[in-house]
């Protein structure tokens, strides 16, 4: 019962905040809604027993990435007139309709195919010698997914250098 209430509350919050993000006139407000959205998603992760991800969500998304957005918005210093110009060839309405249609279709598929939600037995239990969510995740990251992990780290490095290069004044 508690989980049900929690889930629906969170869902409403998440979706509502997402809508606000997309519709807010003021970019800074939009960012703030985004942060709250992320915090709610983090809570959702806690419900799903992924505490580490929840913390990472807050730390990286809310504390890092979105701060970047905020700084950029402050640097470009906009006050709502960003969307003044509209290209006449835009297909916004079609896009909106299509997105709605796809959502409906997907929801339909999901709802109607939800009959068999019997907990699928975990395909072989991951043989990790450690206990606990965080430890297990760490174990997976540094054993089976070591190469993707390293690739991700290289990606971050490249992104960092690229961002520095892009944002430099002299270039």
């Amino acid at each position: 019962m508690a989980e049900t209430i929690g889930f629906y509350t969170l869902s409403v919050l998440i979706l509502g905040l997402a809508v606000l993000v997309v519709t807010a006139k003021n970019t800074v407000h939009s960012i703030l809604f985004l942060v709250m959205n992320f915090l709610c998603v983090a809570v959702l992760y806690v419900v799903l027993q992924a505490e580490f991800l929840a913390v990472i969500q807050v730390l990286v998304y809310a504390g890092g990435i979105v701060v970047l957005y905020l700084i950029v918005v402050m640097l470009v210093n906009l006050k709502g007139e960003a969307e003044a110009h509209q290209d006449p060839r835009r297909l916004s309405v079609i896009g909106l309709a299509l997105a709605g249609a796809v959502l409906l279709e997907l929801a339909g598929i999901l709802v109607y195919s939800s009959g068999s939600d019997a907990a699928v037995p975990s395909s072989e239990a991951v043989a990790s010698p450690v206990q606990g969510n965080v430890e297990e995740l760490g174990w997976l990251l540094y054993t089976d997914y070591l190469i993707p992990f390293e690739v991700a780290s290289v990606l971050l490095l490249v992104a960092m250098i690229g961002a520095i290069l892009l944002a430099r004044r002299e270039v």
């Binding site: 003021n26 800074v28 407000h29 703030l32 942060v35 915090l39 505490e51 580490f52 913390v55 990472i56 807050v58 730390l59 809310a62 504390g63 890092g64 701060v67 905020l70 700084i71 402050m74 640097l75 606990g132 969510n133 965080v134």
Partner: protein, 332 residues
Amino acid sequence: MIDTIVIPLLKIAVLVNGVLVAVTFTVLMERKVIAWAQSRLGPMRVGPYGILQAIVDPIKLILKEDITPAKADKWMFTLAPILSLVPALVVFAVVPFGGDELFYVTDINVGLLFIIAVTSIGVYGIILAGWASNSKYPLLASLRASAQLISYEIAVTMTLVSVILTAGTLSMIGIVEAQQEAGFWFFFVQPVAFVLVLIGGLAETNRAPFDMPEAEQELTGGFHTEYSGMRFSMFFLAEYANMLVISAVVVVLFWGGWLRPFPNVAALSFLDFIPSWVWFFGKMFGFLYLFIWIRATLPRYRYDQLMRLGWKILIPIAIGNIVVTAVVKVLL
């Protein structure tokens, strides 16, 4: 029901109020200590030796007129101090003030990460305050602050990794217990990390000598230039609460939390009569004193020097510390 809801709520209430009261007295302590450092007396009028100043100050702030600048973004302007204060208070949820269950609200297995994550939210308060004020100095200050916080957060987090490596857990209580098992405070095995966390903590809390965002001589008060009254006092509270957080975290990570010195040495067991929370608050007090002392003594860094210190010195040292710790850990 009582165990799951009432007791925690009670604890939270006590904790929040305790922190707020502690903050007011920290402010008093700062005024006194700095005054002594400058060979003067500090507040003396209100109560004996000015002790009641701690109560009068917040009352004064609360009673002051709360001005919202005409061209400010009013919502944000109000939200910013709250965003700044709340994370600072939330963090205390995982700080163990003593060994007994009575002395902490909760123990989560990612406690340290939780602290880092939540404190990283605090930057929004500062940025939004600067932005919402719609004024140049606060904007400059909040840009400085956000850059400073982000860069020093990296350094501190990197440093904490080596502590986590040493302790083998992310839980705050687990870390203290690891020190109990090891028989020594982690300060003795991670002195470099301690210094780094201390410096990084000073920078993250915008304390001198890293108080650029609110350097009154340069930016006339920084991001809270336009604030007054209650909303200003919230920033004020947040800053000092963050100071408490940093002290508490440093105590837990490096100074054995509530443990007495050398918890394994039986010869010192006569010290056990002192309750654990006394140890904890004693150590915390020591660090608060240190922060104030530093503020009284040192000039202020320049902004670029600050960033250079963070990026070019602290982060490399932190990484080196991680490597050394990992190697030692593997070898032992």
